[in-house]
């Protein structure tokens, strides 16, 4: 039985808006084992980034529990949150916006160490920063450069170095490669994989790119409008998707090959607004397999098979497995 590092129970986050509460995250459950990666996939506005921030207490949750190493971090006070953040870090999507343009590479990577008093002396600080730069593949000469002088790939490496500075055990990766070119993206993905193995890191990997998610994840959760609609190990979702949304999402990815032809499921319309969502299944308005019951009754996330959960009225649990 693998060790569970983080367990999220019935997590909710509503934002107040003028037109009513925005259900960004609406009662989700998942758990991540130590050293594994949970891939969280969904389209813009599905609540995946909010989830990543709530589990780090960068945003306060509306309801629910986030159990990290046996303790509910939502109950933590300010000082405990600070120590928790030494264990749990985030890497951001935008390597341009996530670095202070007025700070040099050295200052950016040194900041977590200074704030949390992790360096005994100036020499020790410099040694630690240079070691971090080396770890993420930045040459030492760059320590005095400013972010705007560097390209996206190097900038993202700075962000990774910063998040590693406090030696965390858990990192939320919020679309860390979606702003990068494919050749650079592959470098960064490989780097993260190496780091994970070497430092036994646990990742919550948020992305809209199913190809990237499949490559990095142990388990995958698919989100739609604040809810998880399907969750399982990475290969089952790709081999035999259960939820209609998963099927549509998979079929919509353009495959870079001329020899594989897939039947496309083209969904109608747009994602509905997360403000005052309909009572039934969130996917009802776009579903190509909808039934009457879907309109008013929200399907529960059920255990379809071991390590396979899905929330759809069409899917009944496999009792004999």
């Amino acid at each position: 039985m693998p060790d569970v590092l983080m367990e999220v129970r019935n997590l909710k986050k509503y934002f107040k808006t003028k037109r009513g509460p925005l259900h960004a995250v609406d009662g989700i459950n998942f758990s991540i084992n130590k050293g594994e990666t949970l891939g969280l996939v969904g389209e813009s506005g599905c609540g995946k980034s909010t989830t990543g921030r709530v589990v780090l207490r960068l945003i306060d949750a509306t309801d629910g529990e986030v159990i990290f190493d046996g303790e509910n971090i939502l109950d933590y006070n300010k000082t405990k949150v600070r120590t928790f953040r030494e264990n749990a870090q985030i890497i951001f999507q935008d390597p341009f916006a996530s670095l202070n343009p007025r700070m040099s590479v050295f200052e950016i990577i040194a900041e977590p160490l200074i704030i949390n008093k992790k360096a005994q002396s100036r020499q020790d600080l410099r040694k630690q920063v240079l070691k971090l730069m080396d770890t993420v593949g930045l040459v030492a000469r760059l320590e005095n450069a400013y972010p705007h002088e560097l390209d996206g790939g190097r900038r993202q490496r700075i962000g990774i170095a910063r998040s590693l500075a406090l030696k965390p055990s858990f990192i939320v990766q919020d679309e860390p490669v979606s702003a990068l070119d494919v050749s650079i993206q592959a470098q960064i993905l490989n780097l993260m994989e190496e780091l994970q193995k070497e430092m036994k890191l646990t990742y919550l990997f948020i992305s809209h790119d199913l190809g990237v998610i499949k490559h990095v994840s142990t388990n995958i959760a698919i989100m739609y409008l604040g809810k998880i609609v399907e969750m399982s190990d990475y290969s089952s979702i790709f081999k035999s998707p259960l939820h209609p949304y998963t099927k549509a999402l998979l079929s919509a990815i353009p495959i870079p090959s001329v020899d594989i032809k897939r039947e496309r499921i083209i969904l109608e319309g747009d994602v509905p607004s997360p403000i005052s969502p309909p009572p039934g299944c969130r996917f009802y308005s776009r579903c190509f397999e909808r039934m009457d019951i879907c309109k008013d009754t929200d399907p529960e996330l059920i255990e379809y098979a071991p390590n396979r959960q899905v929330a759809c009225h069409l899917i009944k649990p496999q009792s004999n497995v």
Binding site: S183, L189, E193, I253, P256, S257
Partner: protein, 329 residues
């Protein structure tokens, strides 16, 4: 409309565009060759800074000047060299014979004009019709891209990103152009919406028999809707071939590297095989082959000699010295 399938609609020869700034010269496009037949869709693939957008702006003669300047080369479009045309002549071509779809549907529409009027504007500009006819045609175009006529008088902000991109497509196709340049038209959209828009573009392209340049960084989109692929690196096309040929049998080390960088949905791979190093800096290009500093196969010659365009036969062109001796002249 002439229907000779083998006629070249667009033939770009040795196009070179530089941005001349006080801090130095940015060589955005260098000796670029590209040709498109009538009705054909060419995917122009490359990463940030490869010069894709500058090429598109160059065809439209819209490179901001200063600092941009077309240094040399020809852009032959339907038998005429666009690079030699003046601004007034270009205005009759833009939007009418060549039109463009931009990446960001949020900023490419005017926020204070209803979408129908924005489409009508292009029609009135280029066609000899009355205002009422223009508006009627505009509503027809909206219908064609899947927007119901009761929404014709709505403003851009009342539409979602995908719907806005449909409006942009309607504007681009309103005058039945011969060439459509789509600059990353779906990059800002979600996957399921991207699928809708790509499906729409495919349908309209065959309906209007338009030639298209699809600028993208996504080889998946290329596999989906293009006939021919041109791979760009550091301002020039390093490999150009028929889609099937290029995907099954890529020749240039950069093209091979690109394929190795993409996580494969169909297969389980342990590690990706990325290209080492970073994109070439167009303000400071290497002396020889621009890809040589990142190339695993680079020889001493590659660092000093610029590769020529080599015809490998079967309309497969590659700019790489390792093929220099085997290519038929």
């Amino acid at each position: 409309m002439p229907n000779n399938d083998n006629e070249l609609l667009l033939d770009i020869k040795d196009l070179t565009i530089h941005y001349i700034t006080e801090d130095g010269t940015v060589c955005a496009v260098n000796n670029l060759n590209l040709s498109i037949k009538r009705g054909e869709t060419v995917g122009l693939v490359g990463e940030t800074g490869a010069g894709k957008t500058t090429t598109a702006l160059g065809i439209m003669q819209l490179v901001p000047n200063p600092p941009g300047k077309i240094i040399g080369g020809e852009i032959n479009f339907a038998g005429e060299n666009l690079a030699a045309k003046n601004e007034a002549a270009m205005r009759t071509i833009r939007g009418k014979k060549i039109s463009m779809i931009f990446q960001d549907p949020m900023t490419s529409l005017n926020p204070v004009i209803p979408v129908r009027d924005q489409i009508a504007e292009v029609i009135l500009l280029h066609e000899n019709v009355t205002a009422a006819e223009g508006l009627a045609k505009a509503e027809e175009m909206l219908e064609l891209v899947g927007i119901r006529s009761e929404r014709a008088k709505d403003y851009p902000h009342q539409f979602s990103g995908g719907m806005r991109q449909r409006v942009v497509i309607a504007i681009a196709l309103a005058c039945n152009p011969e060439l459509l340049i789509a600059d990353e038209p779906t990059t800002a959209l979600d996957v399921t919406i991207q699928a809708q828009v790509l499906e729409l573009m495919k349908r309209l392209k065959s309906e209007f028999n338009t030639s298209m340049i699809m600028i993208t960084h996504d080889l998946g989109i290329v596999a989906d809707i293009c006939d021919k692929v041109a791979i760009m690196y550091a301002g020039s096309v390093v490999e150009m071939a028929d889609k099937y040929d290029l995907f099954r049998n890529p020749k240039h080390p950069y093209t091979i590297g690109l394929f190795g960088s993409i996580p494969d949905i169909e297969k389980d791979e342990e590690m990706l095989k990325p290209i080492k190093g970073y994109m070439a800096d167009p303000a400071n290009l290497p002396a020889g082959c621009p890809f040589s500093p990142r190339c695993e196969l680079a020889t001493a010659e590659c660092h000093t000699k610029k590769p020529e365009n080599i015809d490998l036969g079967n309309n497969h062109f590659v700019k790489c010295l390792q093929y220099a001796n085997q290519g038929g002249e």
